[in-house]
Amino acid sequence: MSLESRITDYESRFTFDVYLVGVGGQGVLTIGEIVAETARRQRVPVNFYPTKGMAQRGGFVKAQIRLGREVTGANIPQRGADLVIAMEVSESLKAVRFIKPGGDFLLFGHVWPPAAVMLGKADYPTLDQVMEQVQEAGGKMHYLAPESLPLYEGNPVAANVFVLGAAIGHTRLGDVLDPLEVAHVVQTRWKRGVERNLLAFQKGLEMRG
């Protein structure tokens, strides 16, 4: 699909809502920043609403991206998200109420256990439980195993850029945002590690299959 036809789509009131969840420190909000910046470059109306708790790291983080509406409230209604991107298994459950029936649910299967779980004092949900909940809500699950994170010079790349690539490659977000434009934003966002980040993005894109 060409960029022009995509813009035309927006003129005919095409909207796309993305609900992002994860844990502080995973770069969840950076995904949102990149999507918002790409949307601005493509002249797609965008509202990006990050919400982080009080903790710098290790707390629940969510963000909402609303594409295609000139005037929009920040909050996506329940069962309204065309796409959920979840970066942590347990936290993904907090996004289930927002997935639109038939919407894409992209889960990066990282497990970040809270202290109480490490100490054996609290339960942590199984992947099967999450899959079941997403299915019940009518979401279309796309699962990315943490082991699928590619290596660059022997070290794992940034998970968030990889997951963003997968979202563009795997889900309908790729029909909304031009992969080349997203790659451009990824490339210009950081001064250092350009090659590493592009590799992360590209490998994510190629997960399509």
């Binding site: 844990v23 920043e33 918002a36 910046e37 601005r40 109306p45 965008v46 509202n47 990006f48 609403y49 990050p50 919400t51 708790g53 009080m54 903790a55 710098q56 790291r57 290790g58 707390g59 629940f60 509406r69 005037v71 929009t72 409230g73 920040a74 909050n75 209604p77 329940q78 069962r79 309204g80 347990s90 936290e91 459950l93 907090k94 289930v96 109420r97 256990p113 809270p114 202290a115 109480a116 779980v117 490490m118 100490l119 609290a122 339960d123 942590y124 949900p125 439980q129 999450v130 909940q133 809500a137």
Partner: protein
């Protein structure tokens, strides 16, 4: 030759940044504030820009901030003051007085409310303050509108001679959206005015005060006329009279179109509905509401939190003999709690059409998924010095011979409140800035015979903690105050406060050292501890708990996040795997996010670890070793 007019820039801004840039465009000269989520970003962005000729500062508290802004506006300049809703409570004492006096230059108060409580504290509706002080209030429904309305607020303020509120909610203040930004305007060259007029600038006696009260009411009325002439509140009447009229206040208007689209699937006709979008929520938009009441037979009122406008509608309805239905909060349909979204629009329309059930979703969202999620209580960061202080307090209480639930530890606002959570469970209360001290004294007078401890952070101490301490000293109330001084206003994103080390103060600014204040107040038992030295800290607190009178313990280490941004570490630790038996004591005691459990040993993430060494100090199997010396603690001047 004339230059071409500059082309507006298309930028992605937060609502906070839009407020800041709008003020710059309006030629603001003085900007003050105190950090508080969700309002912080406005002043932060101005500090980054460092606009020429504009004074920007984080003040000690909101009351001081507002007084500075008002003084500048009395001197004829344009001034902006920023705060979260809780800060407005602090500023209000001066605000009501300054409202009576009015202003000369434009004076705008930016306040951000947090319906839905994304950042903690009360679901306070600051519109009530506008009502109480008879000041106009503008409420943008989008980031782009925030940019425009701040400029309108300055103009309105100057035309009427009254301070004007701009109120955002979290969803706008922290959203990023595309805004067309025009060139900032340098502050206009205005000579500072020195006007001696005690009838305007003092409150000496009933004659002056009642005349000011009369003028205040007249100014609000005039503001209402100007708002009406400007058409700020947009009224669109349907072609045919007799249908539904929707009144949408502030942010709720941003959900209307989406709601109409959903309702259209149920046969709702967009062009059969009249809409009044209330942007200026004070004064009450009486003329527009009357028009709507005359035109429609049902009213749907959309406003978050308190039914302020709705009450006004009932008054107008009574005057006009309106007999139709008013759907809102006062009939019990909507809740006063939480954010509004598209669902309120859809449900409200459904109710208005008498088809509520058809508009409700058939299968309500169960919420079962969230219940499976692991609880993730927020804790302090890896390397946070407060961790050591909480651990030391707990250890000291135990060593003095008390159980944890026998010793009251009052808490305060900021990162120091995280001591309420696991694994520490140290702090019992959270009220408002500085309240740890007053509440602690109340417990003592209330007859508590075990030691009473108050805890507070550095910025909070300066903000409103000092009067509480002075009171404790004056009345010689036996308590132990623990000031956790990490040198920054950390929780809101690392703002400079009076105690921040001098190199980080604004040029020409000066550090105010807490270690000098406490002895100067006449505190006899004053101790300084390094919270990364657990046994020493614990022993000091233990000693303080057994002494009479007011004791102050100053726990000093810089915020680890800030120190690491400058490449500093407190030290280094390493795990000796063969000594680790996975007893998990390090996790149980510290709850440090850098520690996780490996196959045969605990693992410390070297990227997260700051090297504070607290885990090594609690390990009783020598499985964690400190490598090298720990960094020196923050000293005095």
């Amino acid at each position: 030759m004339r230059k071409n007019p500059p082309i507006p820039q298309i930028r992605v801004l937060t609502g906070n940044e839009a407020v800041a840039l709008g003020a710059l465009r309006a030629g603001v000269k003085v900007v003050t504030g105190y950090p508080g989520t969700p309002s912080t970003g406005a002043l932060t962005s101005l500090l980054k820009i460092e606009p020429e000729g504009v004074h920007v500062e984080w003040s000690t508290n909101e009351k001081v901030a507002f007084e500075i802004a008002a003084g500048a506006a009395w001197a004829g300049q344009r001034a902006l003051c920023t705060m979260k809703m809780s800060g407005l409570n602090v500023a209000y004492d001066s605000l009501i007085s300054i409202a009576y006096s009015g202003c000369v230059g434009g004076l705008v108060i930016y306040v951000a409310d947090d319906p839905g409580v994304s950042a903690g504290m009360a679901e306070q509706d600051s519109r009530g303050f506008a009502l109480m002080s008879d000041l106009p209030m503008l409420e943008p429904a989008s980031v782009a509108e925030a940019y425009r309305l701040v400029q309108v607020a300055f103009d309105l303020s100057e035309r009427v001679g009254t301070p004007v509120f701009v109120r955002l909610v979290t969803g706008i203040a922290q959203s990023k959206a595309v805004v067309e930004v025009e060139e900032p305007v340098p502050p206009p060259e205005r000579e500072a005015k020195l006007t001696r007029d005690i009838t305007k600038f003092t409150k000496a006696g009933s004659v002056i005060c009642m005349a000011q009260h009369r003028d205040l009411i007249a100014r609000l009325e005039k503001a209402g006329q100007i708002i009406g002439e400007m058409g700020l509140n947009e009224l669109q009447l349907a072609e045919k009279a007799g249908g539904l009229g929707i009144i949408a206040s502030g942010v709720t208007a941003s959900y209307l179109e989406e709601g109409f689209e959903i309702a259209a699937q149920f046969g709702f006709k967009r062009d059969a509905v009249s809409v009044l979008r209330v942007v200026a929520t004070n004064p009450f938009p009486a003329a527009e509401v009357q028009t709507l009441l005359r035109y429609c037979d049902t009213i749907l009122m959309l406003e978050e939190l308190e039914p302020h406008i709705e009450r006004g509608i009932y008054v107008e309805a009574h005057r006009l003999g309106f007999e139709g239905r008013i759907i809102g909060k006062l009939d019990g349909f909507f809740s006063r709690i939480g954010e509004y979204g598209v669902s309120q629009v859809v449900r409200g329309i459904g109710a208005a059409l008498g088809e509520e059930t058809r508009f409700f979703r058939k299968n309500p969202v169960s919420g079962a998924a969230e219940q499976l999620a692991a609880a993730r209580p927020i804790t302090v960061c890896a390397g946070c010095p407060h961790r050591g202080t909480f651990m030391a307090i707990n250890q000291a209480i135990r060593k003095v011979g008390y159980k944890k639930d026998e010793v009251m530890v009052t808490g305060d606002i900021g990162c120091t409140i995280l001591g309420m959570n696991p694994p520490f469970h140290t702090v019992w209360t959270e009220v408002s800035m500085g309240a740890s001290l007053g509440i602690a004294q109340g417990y003592v007078h209330g007859g508590v015979e075990t030691p009473v401890i108050a805890t507070i952070g550095d910025s909070t101490f300066f903000h409103a903690g000092m009067p509480g301490l002075v009171n404790a000293i004056q009345h010689q109330v036996p308590l132990t105050l623990i000031i956790m001084d990490n040198g920054w206003t950390a929780m809101t994103g690392m703002q400079v406060n009076p105690g921040t080390d001098e190199p980080f103060q604004q040029i020409g600014g000066r550090r105010v050292d807490i270690a000098k204040i406490i002895p100067a107040l006449g505190v006899e038992h004053f101790f300084t501890i390094d919270p990364f030295d657990l046994d020493e800290s614990s022993a000091t607190i233990q000693k303080a708990l057994t002494l009479p009178g007011v004791k102050v313990v100053l726990a000093r280490q810089e915020c680890a996040i800030q120190a690491q941004r400058r490449g500093l570490k407190a030290g280094k630790v390493k795990v000796i795997p063969e000594n680790c038996n996975l007893c998990k004591l390090c996790i149980i005691r510290t709850g440090c996010p850098a520690i996780s459990i490996g196959e045969d040993t605990i693992i410390i993430d070297p990227n997260l670890c700051y090297g504070c060494g607290l885990c090594a100090q609690v390990c009783n199997r020598e499985a964690i070793e400190r490598v090298g010396e720990s960094a020196s603690q923050r000293g005095g001047e």
